[in-house]
């Protein structure tokens, strides 16, 4: 089915308690903008019975209680909010995230670089020079999907997962970059590690980024990593933020 990316979205049911508002079928910043604008418009004045909003690459999942908010009313409300030019309720932020690409942290950097015909130093420099967009979270708490990976290092995912990596791993695979807060096996390449905690339930900001934020990586050496890691584990936020 084709879909007019700029036109009326599709309204899809995910059971009777979730409505998917789908703006397209591909990963694209303009589609993501529409998802995030609707997310912000609904969050700014949520109707009674709206439970939870989950923005993803190309759609917004709206969890709702159909006994408080019926589907037709919700669809009408979404269309009404879409008709008004979106104003985000939170200015997008530019984050600078420290990242150590050097051993022992960039475990798979050399392997990935070799597959791409680059040196590890070149691959790290390319990764660190780019400006990324936070598309969405998913998979596990704080697991952040980033768009904007340069073509030169846009590699497919592994055909078989590698053994579990450390927490706070910076990953590349499937044409994207990502940050994984938990240790787990992965089909992505581990190119570095950030000392920042992207999931910190003991901290007032349990999660730092909002979808739509921008992010760049700042290379640090292993000694700096160790120092910042200790501060982050003690509860400090070591990423830097500024208005985008």
């Amino acid at each position: 089915m084709s879909l007019d990316q700029g036109g009326r979205p599709l309204f899809l049911d995910a059971g009777e308690t979730a409505l998917v508002v789908e703006f397209g079928r591909i990963v694209d910043p303009a589609i993501s903008d529409r998802v995030l604008a609707l997310d912000a418009a609904l969050a700014a004045a949520p109707p009674e019975g709206l439970r939870e909003l989950v923005p993803t690459y190309r759609s917004l999942m709206i969890h709702y209680d159909p006994l408080q908010l019926d589907r037709a009313t919700l669809v009408a409300l979404v269309e009404e909010r879409l008709a008004v030019p979106a104003t985000r309720n939170r200015a997008a932020t530019l984050w600078t995230l420290p990242c150590c690409y050097e051993p022992p942290h960039g475990e798979d950097l050399a392997e990935m670089a070799a597959l791409l015909g680059l040196t590890a130093v070149e691959a790290a420099a390319i990764h660190a020079a780019a400006l990324y967009r936070v598309y969405m979270y998913g998979f596990s708490p704080g697991f952040t999907y980033l768009g904007g990976l340069p073509e030169q290092i846009a590699i497919s995912r592994r055909t078989k997962p590698r053994p579990p990596h450390e927490s706070k791993a910076v990953l590349v695979g499937g044409g994207l970059s990502a940050i994984a807060s938990f240790s787990m096996p992965t089909g992505w390449y581990v190119v570095g590690r950030t000392p920042e905690r992207l999931y910190a339930p003991d901290r007032p900001n349990a999660f730092l980024f909002e979808p739509g934020d921008s992010l760049r990586f700042e290379p640090i050496d292993p000694a700096t990593f160790a120092a910042l890691d200790a501060r982050a584990e003690a509860g400090e936020i070591v990423a830097r933020r500024q208005a985008a």
Partner: protein, 340 residues
Amino acid sequence: MSAVLRLLSAGPGITVQDRGRHGFLRYGVTGAGPMDPFAHALANRALGNPAEAAAIEISLGGLELTSEGAPVTIALAGGDFQVMLDGQALPPAVVARLEPGASLKVRAGLAGVWSYLAVAGGLDLPYVLGSRATHTRTGMGGLKGRMLQVGDILPVGMATSEIATGRIVAPLLERPAESIRVLLGPQDDYFAPDQIAAFLAGPWTIAARGDRMACFLEGPKLSHNLGFNIPSDGVAMGAIQVPGEGLPIVLMADRQSTGGYPKIATVIGADLGRLAQARPGTPIAFRAVSHAEAVLARAEEQSFLSGAIPIEPLVRSLFSPEFLLGLNLVDGWVDARAPA
């Protein structure tokens, strides 16, 4: 002294669950919560608790516990489990009072996979991101983010009123698994009409591999007409995703917040428990219903849960519990300590 529950034995897969962790799916946080939301809410409501209070989700592994410090009123609801209180058999859906030192044993019975043990006042454990629900894969919530084990001590919250004991009368708990209602979508258009027909025709069987994350199905392999890679999008509980190899997987309470396979249909809320309680090997069929029918089924459950839950006093019987257990009777089990 306030009351606690102490676990004297515990099989694998037993966790503390409240209604689930809401508001953080957008940050990748799984909702967790009960596999059978209706039974969980029923056990709580039978005690006068809020439906969302933290309770113990008992797996087929079963458990034995005792209360300490003060009497505790508990309720059980869910599958057809075997319940023994100080050697006396109780019905599987029941409200009972545990005196300090009492022995309560709950074991897998004739049918069902999960039983919920709620306590008057709820389990008083710390909130993590606004919820007491356990998610073991991320070590979040419940008791130290893990399954319960022998020796665990669970603090009980303050209960407010006198609570009637006896059998919980809830016809809605009778939920044979053979027909599971679904809403088609959100990606049913990734499947040709003959594949939708094959999905609805089945027959499907619950596979042996399955846990709080997903229920796996065996049956005809389904094919996609638009490929099986989609950009990851939100995943509701009950979403039926069809990966490349074609066998559907129903994503349950511990599912990941987002997923990247087309979802052919979603199990309606009122039938989540029906599916969760089906043991491996159970044949099931899916039946597509309208959104309105799904909402009606939900309204029926909510209406029942929001009223006073009928409790029927247990009566003394002339027969020994061993004799009655031998007959596999569902009703007529006794509480010898109840007044004649």
